[in-house]
């Protein structure tokens, strides 16, 4: 890792007041005579039940910052370095909003991240109070960008976009195998994420020729998945479409293995574990063959492999949080570059009108629509094959062909 030089400019905000105090005590040490550093905020759950996601996200964001700084910083500002301030949303919406206030006070030009929909909803609104541009990473609720908030943008795809792609690909998958799958069971966590996704599926699947046998909900955290799996055993659906967070996904997959429930496919949309290398590494048998339609880095982009290596160098398992937050920082830096000033309004204006790269995400050019949603955002379909997570759709990114039905 040659790019991670000594000047890591990562500061974790130590609580709201501490940040304010730090801000008044003067900027951190600046090497040599340089233009004032540009501060970018990253809001992630560094603690709480989503802490793993926040950790992976911060690695990606820091990687981007180091890369940009090593390449000479923001050129339009005379090579100003970027300083990344990480705010801990503590995995809850209220703390997220409070951290936005702290980041505002610390003088950031823009904020990226959010991760969960609930947190992103309040955080973007808190940022709007200060006209602070906020680029949401992977939070998927449609409503995040549908609220006339001029400061709010989203890099990744929303629910509607993702489910549309996921269903198209599902049909393709099924057709290629001669349409063996006809019945579906939906298993979802009862939070914003899982319930929202299940609702979309319930509306769309019947029109596409699938029969929904049952929709099973469970709370997060779940103590036990054996009843859920028992119901699956009784229903014998061709497909199981789950939407839950990491632990529950793992619990369900392992219990299915135990109870010998083997549907034609487990087809996750934004699956909590289905495209996580931790799951694949720890429970290869349970993970084998699982499909996911999720945020995912472009496998043909060499930086993606570098990010994976950087994560693994810290003894952690790679997941999508790293590449998408890498890309969030890249897009924000580009917007600052284009604005030519570390000015919130100017950056917002650029985000609204200009076009950007998409970092390591497979979006081509990033262009934000009227509502702030990246119109080119695209989830990728992956499948766990022989202990590796391979992209199977769309074709231009595909690393291998899908195996379906899995139990055949």
């Amino acid at each position: 890792m040659t790019k991670m030089t000594g000047q890591t400019r990562r500061t974790i905000l130590k609580g709201g007041v501490a940040a304010a105090a730090a801000a008044t005590l003067g900027a951190p040490t600046v090497l040599r005579a340089q233009p004032a550093a540009v501060k970018i905020g990253l809001l992630q759950p560094m603690s709480g039940f989503l802490a793993q996601a926040g950790d992976l996200a911060s690695i990606g964001a820091q990687f981007a910052v180091d890369e940009i700084n090593a390449a000479g910083g923001i050129k339009a500002l005379g090579g100003a370095q970027i300083e990344l301030l990480i705010g801990d949303s503590k995995s809850n919406a209220e703390a997220g909003a409070q951290e936005v206030e702290a980041l505002n006070e610390a003088g950031v030009v823009a904020i990226g991240g959010g991760f969960a929909s609930g947190i992103s909803l309040t955080a973007t609104q808190a940022a709007a109070r200060h006209d602070l541009p906020f680029l949401v990473d992977s939070a998927t609720a449609d409503s995040i960008t549908g609220r006339d908030l001029a400061n709010t943008f989203r890099l990744g795809p929303n629910f509607s976009m993702a489910t549309e792609v996921a269903l198209q690909n599902l049909i393709k998958l099924n057709e290629a195998a001669g349409n063996p799958a006809k019945t579906v069971a939906l298993v979802h966590e009862d939070g914003l994420f899982g319930a929202g996704l299940a609702q979309v599926m319930q509306e769309k699947l019947p029109g596409l020729g699938f029969e929904i046998l049952e929709t099973i909900s469970h709370p997060t955290p779940a103590r036990d998945m054996s009843n859920v799996v028992l119901r699956l055993r009784s229903l014998q659906p061709d497909l199981v479409i789950p939407s839950h967070y990491y632990n529950e996904f793992v619990l369900m997959a392992r219990t299915m293995q135990q109870q010998r429930v083997r549907p034609m496919g487990v087809y996750a949309v934004f699956g909590g574990a289905a495209s996580s290398y931790q799951f694949v590494a720890e429970y290869p048998e349970a993970a084998e063959g699982v499909f996911d339609c999720n945020h995912w880095g472009d496998p043909s982009n060499p930086t993606d492999a570098e990010l994976k290596a950087a994560v693994e160098a810290q003894g952690k398992h790679y997941a999508y949080n790293t590449p998408i937050n890498y890309s969030v920082v890249k897009v924000l830096a580009e917007a600052i570059e284009k604005a030519g000033a570390a000015d919130r309004a100017a950056v917002t204006e650029q985000l609204r009108t200009a076009e950007f790269g998409s970092g390591v995400m497979p979006y081509g050019t990033t262009k934000f629509g009227e509502d702030g949603q990246n119109v080119n955002a695209l989830p990728l379909n992956t499948q766990v094959q022989d202990g590796k997570i391979n992209v199977i759709f769309p074709d231009q990114f595909a690393q291998s062909t899908p195996v379906f039905p899995v139990n055949g």
Binding site: I12, G16, A18, M46, D190
Partner: protein
């Protein structure tokens, strides 16, 4: 209650308002607002737990009802925020009366009362997490729209001022409790229910009145919370965190005293910020300190911070102490 009785609440309001307008940074102003909200919740808790000796572990039930009510009315019926506030307080009070009716009719007190309030709050949390009217797990988001009628202000000092005024009103309410027959009856019940009954106190009605007032006050805190963050979900509204914060602030500050909950909220949240700063943001350390303070308070200063002041000035009023120990004789 005389005009003189209102002097102290008035001074408190002036000091706090002066602080709000003293050019605090945004973060500190937010902290002040949050302190006022927790203070209100704790002031509500104090009416039942401090004056009435009935420790509730489920004040979230009232807080959440206040928060949800105002946001639901505003987002789906277009009611203005002030009407939402009134409705939130009334509905919160009604939930309090309902829970009180069931619990007190069955004669629950002590641990049983604490546990049943906790269970009610949990039922509400689970239900609101899936009911469509509360937005299910998504919660309810109130759009940003500044204006006095919307109870949203571009300059947050005004919001702080409104919160401070409500805290002042709750202080006055507490002072009234200390000066009224209702309050005397409530304290009498805390100290000895049977003796109070023998003296003509309608125990059931006084308790019911206390939980209704208490719930209304905590519901108001919920309304302000919702109005401040413009968002609630099941965890924020009905989660155990607020029940615990309310109880902490009231006990640490001084049970059954007028200023206890306010002092407790300011001290605990202030300390929480300092702990976070010192611990370098290690999660949990601030709450760990809270827990230790709670135990130390119960063990060594059962009268709370307010009793420390009285000890220093030599006045003795062992109220809080007996509030904690009231069950001994029963």
């Amino acid at each position: 209650m005389s005009a003189r009785d209102l002097l102290l609440p008035l001074i408190a309001v002036l000091v706090l308002a002066g602080l709000a307008f003293s050019g605090l940074s945004g973060t500190l102003l937010n902290l002040l607002i949050f302190m006022m909200i927790i203070s209100l919740a704790a002031q509500g808790w104090n009416i039942l737990g401090g004056f009435g000796g009935l420790s509730s572990f489920g004040h979230a039930a009232f807080f959440g009802t206040g928060a949800y009510t105002t946001l639901i009315l505003q987002t789906s019926l277009g009611v203005n925020a002030w009407a939402g506030l009134v409705a939130g307080v009334l509905l919160g009070a009604a939930v309090g009366a309902g829970i009180g009716f069931l619990s007190f009719r069955s004669g629950l007190k002590g641990s049983y009362f604490a546990l049943i309030t906790l269970a009610f709050a949990e039922v509400l949390r689970i239900a609101s997490n899936s009911a469509p009217i509360t937005g299910g797990a998504a919660g309810i988001l109130l759009p940003l729209d500044y204006g006095f009628l919307n109870l949203q202000f571009d300059d947050r000092r005004w919001f702080a001022l409104i919160a401070i005024l409500f805290v002042g009103a709750a202080l006055a309410l507490t002072r009234w409790l200390e000066r009224s027959r209702f309050g005397a009856y409530l304290i009498a019940i805390r100290e000895n229910e049977q003796a109070a009954q023998a003296l003509g106190v309608d125990v059931f009605r006084v308790k019911l009145g206390a939980i209704t007032l208490s719930a209304g006050c905590t519901a108001l805190a919920g309304v302000l919370y919702a109005q401040n963050y413009l968002f609630v979900d099941a965890h924020v509204a009905y989660g155990p965190w607020i029940s615990i914060e309310a109880l902490f602030a009231a006990i640490v500050g001084g049970l059954g005293t007028m200023f206890g909950p306010l002092v407790g909220a300011v001290a605990l949240l202030g300390l929480g910020e300092i702990t976070k700063m010192v611990s370098g943001g290690v999660p949990g350390v601030d709450l760990l300190v809270f827990g230790a303070i709670l135990i130390l308070t119960v063990a060594f200063v059962p009268g709370g911070l307010m009793s420390l002041r009285q000890r220093l000035t030599g006045r003795r009023r062992p109220r809080g102490e007996t509030a904690l120990r009231s069950e001994e004789g029963a």
